[in-house]
């Protein structure tokens, strides 16, 4: 029995391990680097001369911008796909489309990363780059917010659609009957009754998707670029928290220099950010489920 209990407690140990492993090094980091500069500075430029500027804001901006593009792709497509599957599709369409979407969800992110690096990035350059299809030269390189955002959006479509599908299916049939019985069309029923009823659950699903997007690493490492800047131009390369964690911790890391230790501060920021989103999302979804139980 003791064995069983300790096995169950491992989950807590892991969480504690995660937090502690990052907290120690983060404390260490803030001893040698001013925390106000980390949180409120506006420049990210690590170097080996000892005057690195290590501010999280430009990275956070890139992260949020790319995630927003991804959600802009994934939420409408995923939601409409879920609505179609749950409300319109016959059993046969459902039985084929659902597993195929799940297949999309089971593809590892390295595949999406390679797709961004080799296919989508250069493809976008051919459209928007110098001498490209549209005759504009908006894109200088293949890495950009758009490249990473689009591909991440594709990755998130099945995530959004399967969560929303579950949620839409949890809306009781009696509500649909009530609306149809009044002479509403299917789309009126969906837009005015089903979706509003499912709204909290869908918001939860979108928050979970956002948390995924923020924590995603491979797609941005391979598609977003390494330039830390705050800009509104989606055709420019920008960088994210996760890519900087990777770049600061790979290669020859010196665990006494702020340039390496900053990765832990970034890691804990990422952890807190995604944890917060997850907690809110799970609470929202749980509350929503209870409403219809």
């Amino acid at each position: 029995m003791g064995l069983l209990i300790s096995a169950a407690s491992i989950a807590i140990l892991v969480t504690i391990g995660i937090v502690l492993s990052m907290v120690f090094e983060t404390v260490h980091f803030f001893r040698i680097y001013d925390w106000t500069n980390f949180f409120f500075g506006s420049t990210w430029s690590p170097n080996f001369r000892g005057d690195s500027e290590l501010a999280i804001l430009p990275l956070l901006w890139g992260t949020l911008y790319i995630s927003a593009v991804a959600l802009l792709v994934a939420v409408p497509v995923g939601l409409f796909a879920a609505v179609y599957l749950a409300e319109f599709a016959g059993p046969r369409v459902r039985a084929t489309a659902k597993p195929l979407l799940e297949l999309l969800a089971g593809i590892p992110t390295i595949v999406y990363g390679l797709f961004a690096l080799i296919t989508v990035g250069p493809g976008l350059v051919q459209l928007f780059g110098e001498g490209g299809f549209f005759g504009v030269s908006w894109m200088a390189g293949a890495s950009s917010v758009l490249t990473a955002g689009l591909v991440m959006g594709i990755m998130l479509i099945p995530f959004v659609s399967s969560l929303s599908d579950d949620i839409i299916n949890a809306v009781p049939q009696s509500l649909r009957d009530g609306s149809l019985g009044l002479g509403a069309t299917r789309s009126e029923t969906i837009r005015q009754v089903v979706l509003p009823a499912a709204l909290p659950g869908i918001v939860g699903a979108i928050l979970l998707a956002a948390s995924r997007a923020i924590g995603e690493t491979m797609i941005v490492v391979m598609g977003a670029g390494a330039v830390a800047k705050i800009s509104g131009n989606p055709f420019e390369a920008m960088t994210t928290i996760t890519t900087r964690i990777v770049s600061q911790l790979t290669g020859d890391s010196d665990f006494t220099s702020p340039e390496t230790l900053v990765a832990f501060a970034l890691g804990i920021s990422l952890f807190v950010l995604t944890l917060g989103l997850n907690l809110v999302a799970l609470a929202v979804v749980r509350k929503y489920r209870e409403q219809y139980e």
């Binding site: 096995a7 990052m22 319109f88 593809i107 990363g113 594709i154 789309s187 911790l249």
Partner: protein
């Protein structure tokens, strides 16, 4: 009150426009589904279109005279002596063989034999040397040997490299391609199935043509073993406790919330944990599959706990009651009755968890499984766990980083291998579920 005695058949414009809105809405839904499926098709098409080439490789057949005067000056076939001849010593043999090639096939070219020999992979000399060292008795004879050609020539045969694309290329010239055309026509240069890609090891960035993914597969296999050995017992034990014994209190609540949150923590964070705990504190070796396996275990555990609990939950309480009714203890009821019935579900969840772990890349970057050339396969179990190695997705990323179309091809090829594993694992999981699906 509006009098409404109009006919059911009357086409009411208001209804018509509502029906059109309905049809439009439906169309958006259909478009979303079709778009997702089209994206899936494009993705898989890209993978297969770009990656299949990696499973084929071009070879040039040369008649090599293994001159005793070059390879074994003393002539007593002393293996130690023979080993002293470096790859430089083999270069002239290849040039001579190229000379003979030009003559036998009557190749029309202004190039010297040395330039024809440059069509070969940089690994050609060492392959030849390995051959001789393995069997010194061949020295003195002339052997027919299939050499890898370099990535440019290989790319030319696969259509990746064209005469236009090599305009500024220092590695290959148009004259060389002319010779290649003739060699292909003569049947000396052929493209065929390349088992070495599947079984071989990575090669330096000068030799994409001889890079293989076999060693990375061994790395992944070792990690999966670690994950399986660690997560299955722990995951099942944790689910048994939570599902069958746990009292409803703050601690179990905390554990539950923890598990569902851990399942959503970004994978890179687990990489940081691995680096900080396993490497910096416990001083386990960098790049070791054991460390990779440990990190992936922590990531996979929540998945396995969640699915095992679902499997145990689906065993009806009547089974437990029946076991308890005939005098079994609760432990016995669980281990003799509930667990066997939940086993297929637990196994399915485990396979799916392993499949996820197999494709995970980000945490491996931080524990050093990328950025070096995993050129030798581990020989012992200890090596497989502790010697630096890479893993399937890490190897793919490593190739993608080398920014060379020949390596891109290998990266896509690696993805095909990875996807074949994932499809196989998921298929097994689905079959298991079908086979043991029970309705209570």
């Amino acid at each position: 009150m509006t009098p409404r005695s109009r006919s059911l058949f009357a086409a009411d414009p208001q209804i018509q426009s509502r029906k059109r809105a309905d049809a439009r809405f439906r169309l958006y839904g259909l478009a979303a589904i079709l778009a997702s499926l089209a994206l899936l098709a494009v993705l898989l098409g890209t993978v297969i279109g770009n990656g299949l080439g990696a499973f084929q490789q071009s070879y040039l057949t040369l008649e090599v005279e293994l001159l005793e005067s070059k390879l074994d000056k003393t002539g007593n076939r002393d293996i130690e002596e023979i080993k002293k001849v470096t790859t430089f010593g083999y270069d002239p043999l290849l040039t001579a063989a190229a000379e003979r090639l030009i003559e036998t096939h009557n190749i029309q070219t202004d190039l010297r034999a040395k330039d024809i020999a440059k069509l070969l992979s940089k690994s050609a000399v060492s392959d030849l040397r390995d051959f001789v060292v393995a069997d010194p008795s061949q020295i003195g004879s002339t052997v027919s040997f299939d050499f890898l050609v370099n990535a440019r020539v290989d790319g030319y045969l696969k259509g990746r490299v064209t005469r236009e694309s090599i305009a500024d290329d220092k590695m290959i010239s148009a004259e060389q391609l002319d010779a290649v055309d003739q060699l292909v026509a003569a049947g000396a240069l052929v493209k065929r199935f390349n088992l070495d890609f599947i079984l071989g090891s990575d090669a330096s960035d000068q030799r994409p043509e001889s890079a293989g993914i076999g060693t990375a597969m061994l790395g992944s296999l070792a990690m999966m073993l670690v994950v399986l050995v660690l997560t299955l017992p722990v995951g099942v034990a944790a689910s048994i406790y939570l599902e069958e014994f746990a009292p409803k209190n703050r601690l179990t609540d905390l554990i539950e919330v923890n598990i569902s949150n851990l399942a959503a923590v970004p994978s890179i964070v687990f990489g940081i944990l691995g680096l900080a705990v396993f490497i910096n504190i416990l001083h386990l070796p960098m790049s070791a599959p054991l460390v990779g396996g440990l990190v992936l275990s922590l990531m996979t555990l929540p998945t396995i706990i969640i699915s095992s609990r679902a499997a145990m939950k689906s065993v009806p309480p009547s089974i437990r009651d029946a076991a308890l009714g005939v005098g079994a203890s609760r432990m016995q009821a669980v281990f003799h009755h509930v667990l066997p019935l939940a086993a297929p579900g637990i196994l399915t969840g485990t396979i799916i968890g392993l499949a996820q772990a197999l494709g995970e890349t980000a945490p491996l970057l931080l524990i050093g499984m990328v950025g070096f050339i995993a050129s030798t396969a581990p020989e012992t179990m200890g090596d497989a766990l502790l010697a630096p190695n890479t893993a399937l997705p890490a190897q793919i990323f490593e190739w993608a980083k080398r920014a060379d179309p020949a390596f891109y091809e290998r990266a896509w090829g690696g993805i095909i291998v990875l996807l074949v594993f994932l499809v196989a694992m998921n298929a097994i999981a689905i079959l298991l579920r079908r086979r043991f699906e029970r309705r209570w």
